[in-house]
């Protein structure tokens, strides 16, 4: 089977940036979230337990802070879909296998089914809803359209985000790179031939674009 790129696996906690730190941080006050400074400040605070009931959190999605109240066990994909009506990303395998829930978090593609919503605080989360404004298509979406890289389309938003993340890191991929780099997403209708072409087209069109732009 294809190997998965690191960039498509959930981001491991960076030093001083742990789930516990976040939980404590939320206890201090969510107003400071999103600044990126919180985890170091929180490290010194006393341990606190959150949940199992709902807790208020703030997610920074597509450049905007969004407040919601969820149980600590709620995943990012469920928070997006059930609480925020951001339904582009899909819940399919729910176990970090298929990539239908792919979003870009802190610049890396992640499986949103395997990230807790509370752990996603303080990071920039980019979803397919934020890719383009108005009715215009982002170059990756347009490339999928141009190359007939979708059938039922249920895997497509995840694939588009995985492609976006992949191209951000590999601006000039070869077809072999594409086969390797997109191995973390699955399609049941069998649109891979179109996707291979779409990624190459999108990479070409995005040359010179600002990273994450």
């Amino acid at each position: 089977m294809s190997s998965k790129k690191d960039s498509e696996l959930p981001v491991p906690p960076k030093s001083g940036f742990s789930r516990r730190g976040f939980i404590r941080g939320v206890g201090i006050g969510s107003g400071a979230l999103g600044t990126g400074l919180l985890e170091t400040e929180a490290a010194a605070a006393a341990p606190a337990t959150l949940g199992p009931g709902p807790v208020p959190i703030t997610l920074n999605i597509n450049g905007k802070p969004v407040n919601l109240t969820v149980e600590p066990s709620v995943t990012l994909i469920d928070a997006m879909r059930n609480y925020l009506d951001l339904t582009g990303a899909k819940r399919v395998c729910d176990r970090a296998t298929c990539g239908a829930c792919t979003v870009i978090m802190a610049g890396k593609t992640v499986y949103a089914c395997t990230v807790l919503a509370i752990d996603a605080q303080g990071k920039n989360i980019e979803t397919i809803e934020g890719l383009a404004t108005g009715s215009a298509l982002h170059p990756v979406s347009k490339a999928f359209y141009d190359n007939d890289a979708q059938q039922c389309g249920y895997c497509t938003p995840g694939f588009v985000m995985a492609c976006k993340g992949f191209i951000d890191e590999h601006p000039s991929p070869t077809e072999e790179d594409v086969k390797h780099g997109l191995g973390g997403n699955l399609c049941r209708c069998g649109t891979y031939m179109g996707i291979r072409k779409a990624v190459l087209q999108a990479a070409k069109e995005m040359k010179g674009a600002v990273k994450n732009g």
């Binding site: 089977m1 294809s2 149980e71 066990s73 709620v74 469920d78 879909r81 059930n82 009506d85 339904t87 582009g88 990303a89 899909k90 399919v92 395998c93 729910d94 176990r95 296998t97 298929c98 239908a100 979803t127 397919i128 809803e129 890719l131 383009a132 298509l137 990756v140 979406s141 347009k142 999928f144 359209y145 141009d146 007939d148 890289a149 979708q150 059938q151 039922c152 389309g153 249920y154 895997c155 497509t156 938003p157 588009v160 594409v178 086969k179 390797h180 997109l182 191995g183 997403n185 699955l186 399609c187 049941r188 209708c189 069998g190 649109t191 891979y192 031939m193 179109g194 996707i195 291979r196």
Partner: protein, 718 residues
Amino acid sequence: MANTPDYHWPPMDQRKVIGTSPKRLDGPVKSSGRAKYTSDLKPQGMLFGAYLISPHAHAKVTSIDTSVAEKLPGVKSVYVAAPAGTEMQYQGWEVAAVAATTEEIAREATRKIKVEYEVLPHFVKDEDLASAGANAKQGGERLVGDPDKAFADAEAVSEGHYGIPVVTHCCLEPHGQVIQWMGDSINVWPSTQNVPGYAGDLSQRLQVPATNIKVKMDYIGGGFGSKFNPDAWAIVGANLSKNAGGRPVKLYLERNAEQMIGGNRPSAYAKIKLGGKKDGTITAWQTDSWGTGGFQAVSPGQQPYVFTNLPNIREVRTAVSVNAGTQRAWRAPGNQQASYLTCCAIEDYAHKIGMDPIEVFKLNAQYAPTARIETYRYQLDKAAELADWKKLWRPRGQNGSGPVKRGLGVAIAAWGGAGHAGKARAVINPDGSVAIETGTQDLGTGTRTIITQVAAETFGLPMSQIKLSIGTSELPADGGSGGSSTVGAVSTTTRKSSMNALAKLYEVVAPSLGAQPEELEAVDGHVRVKGSPNKSLTWQAACRKLGSTQIAEMGENVPRSAQAEGLNTQGAAGVQIADVSVDTETGIVKINRYVAVQDCGLVINPKLAESQVFGAIIMGIGTALFEERIMDAQTGRVLNPDMEFYKLAGIADIGNLVVHMDIRPENDKRGVIGLGEPPAIPICAAVGNAVTNAIGVRVPTIPMTPDHVLAALEGRIG
């Protein structure tokens, strides 16, 4: 109407939109994530549903207590699907369900339902027929000609055993729906391949008049044959909604349940014996086959596949019942299995007599249905050419001395694909706007796009001027999208309704052009007199003559008379060749190249047709190399109800695909034929034959995993 319009498709060289490849109309909304699937919906007041399913393969519910779950804050409704006394026949059987204000609460509540089971004996493995005992039900013997004499006279006889396991549909969007039952009316947003048939079925099961049931679905995340009827979960969801005072309830299967009970393709195993001449002619065929479709047993399809006119046949088919989820139609029901068994057995016969299998297939194409004989021979040659067969193919086992062996394998397919019964309405408004309304659904196959192409062609208008409405029960009913029947139906109903509407328009417009209605045509945005392009009106000007009266005309596809009309027909043929490399040290199979030659009559959109064939091959490569529902004999449970261990093919697993649409004029003139199924049929057989050709020994059982390949190489049973 004075004259019935001439509905025939325009000649190939006169088509302007049909036969071209405009991009799929739902592409932008899907690739930008804006397409709302029913599983994305959240109507006002919606509750989240969650299921409790049976952990046992076979058990009786002795008691069930929902009192704790009901008291959980946020729980609005609890429904028991399997009351005490229910005997459940497989793991995943629906026991109870909860609707609550959040999904987390609903799930938590299902865990608080106390169920006591009396666990009963189970049987879940059907590979070995001898162990099936009373679970096996043998059908009668089918006898054609005199097989005993034919085998006695045969110059060569080959024997083999072959197996193809249960695989699941693994739709990415699981089965389910959002449903709201208020009083005597129901709103339902299902994930279904059958929008037009859904209300009727639900009506019978809930005793609500069909006229009070509104069904709506814009997009579906995969069906592949598994999503037609409302299913148990729609009934459960409806009851949850009713008990919660009519609030809508969202109830979709979790992935594990989806893999257990959301449908599967039956298995097929067989011992097959062939006899024939040394020139490759097969004269005798004997099959003992069995397989399972779950608790409701089904036997494998008839053998031999395609070569149905063989003169001497003996066949016994046995259905095995197991305690596992029930089979559903799986993209060419019965055909992958039948193609696998037949094409592997023929490949083994070719090896036995030392012939190139392509030649053996071509020779025995004489036993295919008469109308398809020459098509198969042409396609076998074409596929061989595209696969460099003559250059690359070596006799079995003669594929070099290194550890990695290359091999080629061929297989064939047949399918019907005629249009189902259906209706469409074409509307012409006085302002010139045009609408097509038909209660069909677009599974991602391109249905929206091809309907719009047919309408644009017929009205002589750009596609952007056609407004299409599909996906609700309030529109003229089309049929369910199964059996590759949609494209034939909707192309016909669109063509006929559009022609009927034009005929009405011509009646109004003709006097002002000084012509008879039947002398008019709609071309390039004008209504004009045939042969006199100067006598014309712009489309807008022609429609203004309607005054305030809209035209709305129906068009119908009646399967019995469709072939005579020439718009759609049935009978598609296909040949595919797999080119693989097998590492004989690791057992890993890699697809180098995969060639498909496919006929499907008149092709409305070649790009979308090619995408359908690509998709069918890719899905097939998954089943050929990776997919299998694995049952545990000891516990009776499914060992891989997930997507880590139920593996689909990924973007790197498929090699390079070469698709050749066989659109020769003799195929085109037959009319439109469905394409969802035909190319999905022969992949397991082609890959299995290629692996066998590469490594020199038959790997009997799909999927071609390292385990099966190494077992065959080591002389263990594969």
